[in-house]
Subunit: 493 residues, 2 copies
Amino acid sequence: METGRAIKASRSWINQNGHQILQEYAELLRLPNHASDLPNIERNCDFISQMFAKRGFEMQLLRLEGAPPIVYGERLVAGATRTYCIYAHYDGQPVVAENWTHPPFEPTLYDGAMSNGGRPIPFPTSPNEEIDEESRLYARSASDDKAPIISLAAALDGLEAAGIGLTSNIKLFFDGEEETGSPNVENYLRTFDHLLNDITVWMLVDGAVYPTGDPSFKFGSRGRTAAQLTVYGPARPLHSGHYGNWAPVPGQLLARLLASMKDDEGKVLIDGFYDSVIPMSDFERGQAEEAPNIDEQLKEELALHTTEGNGESLNLRIQLPSLTIRGLASGSVGEKARNVIPTTAVAELEMRLVNGNDPDSMLDLLEAHIKKEGWFVVDEEPSLEIRKAHRKVIKMIRDEDSFAASKVDMDRPEIQEVIAGLKSFTGDSGVFLPATGASNRIYGLIFNDIGKPGICINTVNRDNNQHGADENVRIGNLWYGADILSVVLTLPE
Amino acid sequence: METGRAIKASRSWINQNGHQILQEYAELLRLPNHASDLPNIERNCDFISQMFAKRGFEMQLLRLEGAPPIVYGERLVAGATRTYCIYAHYDGQPVVAENWTHPPFEPTLYDGAMSNGGRPIPFPTSPNEEIDEESRLYARSASDDKAPIISLAAALDGLEAAGIGLTSNIKLFFDGEEETGSPNVENYLRTFDHLLNDITVWMLVDGAVYPTGDPSFKFGSRGRTAAQLTVYGPARPLHSGHYGNWAPVPGQLLARLLASMKDDEGKVLIDGFYDSVIPMSDFERGQAEEAPNIDEQLKEELALHTTEGNGESLNLRIQLPSLTIRGLASGSVGEKARNVIPTTAVAELEMRLVNGNDPDSMLDLLEAHIKKEGWFVVDEEPSLEIRKAHRKVIKMIRDEDSFAASKVDMDRPEIQEVIAGLKSFTGDSGVFLPATGASNRIYGLIFNDIGKPGICINTVNRDNNQHGADENVRIGNLWYGADILSVVLTLPE
């Protein structure tokens, strides 16, 4: 099976039946889908189950008490030696309807992005009616993450119409609570392991394509940990006139500590901070280096003159752990500023972690650094006696929301096989990133907890307003999704 | 005239007439006295004018349109070669009546401090009735700053009863808007200069005695200036996962800048920061060094292990300029902390200034330091173009509320004469501080703007809750006020 035929089938189907695809999609988007709204969640499940039952899948709803069901399906292919599982999520973010131009569950077509002067247009109604790829469909979950569901349906239809068979067993695993953190997915994966343990590669279809618009694929995400640091000055706020130049100033003490943690180029100075990083393979580094450099575009957009790391690209920088001051507070600023020496200064530090970094061990390194700087470290509010007994007292509270990075080894043969197939479609334009900078619970569950390889496939436009008002999908990206999934469904054996 | 006779006269009068003093004081304290409440302000003026008219003063109300009047008086003494002016203020802080145990304008006597288990007692009614010096009178302005007014009346009565004449011409200048910043006093001083230009020394009677309870006198106060610094990261808040370890973190940049400004011992590292300080005279330094060291007591109270300046005493430290971070903010802390790289970080810096420090020049030194650290400094919100054009951009907003220190040269003969007289009463217990750490607008107006020498005389107890609810005066401090003013009224010629 060569890639070209699958794409041709997909495009031919779309050209003739775009109006039907959009009609079916509009029906799906009319169903409200917040994970807590269980009656509507069931309506989504029924609709999606019927969509894929029609397309040759044996469907069932996997159920755990009180949780949105997993819409599960399988279509087995005689003689297939691989099983791919398509993951998407049918639930959506909550909506604040008054912020939307149109009601979020009344899908509305525009001839372009609203932000670009687009105007509402009627849905197409006839076969072969041309649909501009720049037109947009506005509705909650239009991009995040019902788009892969309709793209997959179109891909299946296109291949069917062209008489092209699938080359792998295909399973479906559509999550109904991703936007609330997938609290039950771990349990689902364990409980229904008998349905899932033969999966060769998970295809996690979610998220937006590369900023350049090029196809993008990711193989991991960073972990995370955080700590809150509080340093102490006088036991009560002091008049800065009466006591200034005598009482220690907590903001000053904190500034000196934070300054010791990172140099002017953004290199973290905590001993051992980079030691546990498992380096990328040559292939992975090559992929990260080959990805189009978007730094200049981003720097322009973000009004940045210089970035951390002496100009090393974002795609390489996110393959290392980070240390970010996400919050600072002492006394008051602006109109509320008062002439006081505050009692405390607080910093919220966050780390993003890569392959090899253990969250607790990374915080241990941070704590060791603080001690090396002469601080007495406590993990609860220090008594006045403790404050009197030590020159520099700091409270360090470790964040409970800590987890390791998720990373698939891109050199694994079953992954190399998929990459090769995808590249035969994308050519040089495909971006294959070893890991995204952000963290992703689903990656962690699949890559780490059940130890399966997976690939994240991005299909939608970046300017989709996911999670906000006026969420939308660019129609061209729905079609792209059908193309890429046609490739996945027909990867050479 | 020896000091002993004046004190004896004061104490004899108090012992016999304490009940009358408290009755007269209660009448004065019943008059609400916020500067904006002009009808009640007039009632205060009338009452105080009558108090001193009865005691041999020619009284008049100095008036400027829309401002509380100055209660002015003079009592000339035949052959006197000096004129002392007693400054106090009859206005008070606004009250939040529901926070008070008793209504703030219903003076209530207690047998001790409420905070120490004191209980309400009736006012004394008969001559020679013993009044415990530890008892407290609760009312707005009981300490701040009607106390000197009643103490002065008692001192005059005591001297009169003992047949002891005044040794200087005495003028009265009672301010009616100190608690709102004395906005018209400069104009009053200029407009009525013909009444005031023969004053030899101003006696500014306000504030609490030294923390040890010892008599205290001050000869200046620190100036002040401030600046708000804002440093810039990305133009919009960035996801700390997607961009962490690449995008510059404004809190980190700010920490490094602030850390460069002060060393671990609290020494300011800004070039020239201490250069313009006019050193104290030997006499002044001697007085500051002789003052009882309260550092250990304060460190205990404030739970401090170490203070800035390698253990140099508070009284010496406040004779130098200070640099205080009174506010810090970037992103959010605590429950509101989010996984972002914030767009800005803000520091509110404040300096207290001493003799010789020009506020603008001190901020110039700060700005030069920031530039030396590689920052591009702007004084208004920088455009995105400016942010793109420079690696480190900082906005520095100079505070409009800036003023120089106020300082009387303690070696001036007319001041030395007063100090000698006061010391003959206080003996070794008197604390004569070259300057207080805080700032005082009245000192500035008198010492700097009209260039007159003055002495600040503190009479009330420190735990007086001035400005808050349950303001009070310790009765022993009212009597002490009468003693010390008796000494002032009869200083040897």
